[in-house]
Symmetry: C2
Amino acid sequence: MADTQANIQAPPTIYDVARAAGVSIASVSRVLNGHRNPRQETRDRVLQAVAELGFVPDGAARALSARLKEVVGVVFRRPGWTEPSDGMFADEDESLQFIDVINRGVEVAAQHRGYNLLIGSVDVDGHDASRRIMTLARKSDGLILHDQVLEPARLAQLSQHVPVVTLAGVATQTTANVRSDNGTGMAELARHLIGDHGYTSLAYLAGFADSPDNVARRQALAEEAASAGARFIEGPRWQGNYYASGGARVIGGLLADGVPLPRVIVCANDQTALGVMHALAQHRIEVPGTVAVTGFDDIPVARHLRPQLTTVRQPIQELGATAFEVLRSMISNREPVSRDLVLPTRLIRRESCGCPSDPALPAWRLA
Amino acid sequence: MADTQANIQAPPTIYDVARAAGVSIASVSRVLNGHRNPRQETRDRVLQAVAELGFVPDGAARALSARLKEVVGVVFRRPGWTEPSDGMFADEDESLQFIDVINRGVEVAAQHRGYNLLIGSVDVDGHDASRRIMTLARKSDGLILHDQVLEPARLAQLSQHVPVVTLAGVATQTTANVRSDNGTGMAELARHLIGDHGYTSLAYLAGFADSPDNVARRQALAEEAASAGARFIEGPRWQGNYYASGGARVIGGLLADGVPLPRVIVCANDQTALGVMHALAQHRIEVPGTVAVTGFDDIPVARHLRPQLTTVRQPIQELGATAFEVLRSMISNREPVSRDLVLPTRLIRRESCGCPSDPALPAWRLA
DNA sequence: ACCGGCTCGGTAAGCGCTTACCGGCGGCCC
DNA sequence: GGGCCGCCGGTAAGCGCTTACCGAGCCGGT
């Protein structure tokens, strides 16, 4: 062996295929893309050459020429810890399960259409976030933006040039939006807690203040509590950040200051509930015996917690898949199927609200 | 308003910028890419035009011309349930936390270098997996492949044309590999269980049989057990699949057949342990009192389980980040910095092995 | 037999960039 | 003062595809 390095050789181009098949590059392109119905013999020769050479067209060249990249960009926000108490491994402390599952939904839907997913994240201090998103945009045919990645002004500007679908945001003149029916799910949860369990004091542990989801959930809960005459607790002490750390911090703060806890803590999302349950366990506070806890989203781990988490299920993967389909319709028709899609939610009663565990309904159907 | 449709207009091209700045496109390209040190005045005019028009170069054109896409592809395998007992929501039953965190690591590292991540998944029945991966490859500069996505022959073929880094696989002549030091971590865990806790019977709940990680972990455990004279249990009854469902199924099967459980169940990874603990709880079996359970990976939720999961920590994000850096070196130098990188692991003692909970060490440092 | 029309290949013009190459201009040295 | 060299802009040739356009061949109709 003269050289231990395994040199990689350039992949074959369409010219190589054309030469091997004894036809022009136009013919190769035509049989590969199924245009103009080439003669059977031509088709056979091209196909054989393609198989022999293992030809796969270059994405960039194809994109440039066809003005279609078959790539959609997805941007989400990474937790950027501004709180000094979080250590160097802060990033690993959290998984972004909700976001990851949505992205999986996008990806699966995209695969079906021959698209791929280009992923980008921005950290909370997004001073150059806008630039990064632009770059991503120029590598894709359209963008799916998670909550809180771009301020409205930038969004408006961006969406003039690129199809944009937001998740859990608000639709605008130029963007479409996909979200869940927060109100219905939260109302159902509230009625269950107040009506079925008879709880009379509920706190809302909030997510980001300016997130539409957060606003809608809070409001539905507040309204149900009011109409049922239950005490509704909220405020700056109850300000979380959609992450477990936020929930844990809130509980820690409350307990440290000797603030009495309400009978139920309704968390803005599951990850927050995770942190809450963790902090509660650390202080030896019984869930749901002393304090009941609920989440929102029904992320996969919700059922593995002890007690299992009562929550409101969103069709998470479907959220992603829907966002993709809307985006694709914008890409191909330059007009979305709909500007504001709302997916249904529903209450999932498990143990953390005080319901009995139900062994008849295992989380996994066993063989 | 004549038209409610917000028409998207084509983004500006380099020609638009050149015209606005009164220079040639070559000059625009040069100032943007910092080549040939253009005159200050030229630079200013170009930069101003770029700012005014909001110009960002098209990714495809840039890629085609510069022969560099600044995109890396990542392929992982989605759980494809072959077992009939798993319902329609099977996909949502599982999150792929380990994979997601790795991908996040890749993404963060990629961002630093101006690269983006192109995501593709293959399902277990990967009959056209190879083709899909090829397509992905032609949209990127290189590929990072998770475990079990491509058979070796295909891999060898693929890696002739594209730089490839595998995760938790084996390095070959043409591919590089990044993995964790399974042996050391597992040995440390085994010694803790046998030496510190005095357990004398351990079962290994396996992952995919042909996964190198699985083989290495099993072997380290077997060796430690043998040398310490502990009983080591394994076999077809203990065959999992790296997912929670596999762990739950194994436990369910054992219990249904009246097989007595060992004192410790060492799971191939955390997700498996999750399913095991879930199944055990369902049968009212105490963990760690009656049966101790351990995992491997230290995925973010491991600390949220009750009891908290004792496991072996891999530097998950770093695994991804390292894979990216190796790949990048292959892309730019056509030669990897190293063909086989091994990252350290270490035992994380929590509660599920029988260690006392440690309130002095909260999972989150609270404000 | 001729011609219109239809089928199907080939030729070549881009797509929006990067960069090799060239040429003009100014400064420097002798 | 003339010749060289270096600096910088512009011109144009691709990068690897898709596709509009053209033309050759062949069919059927009259």
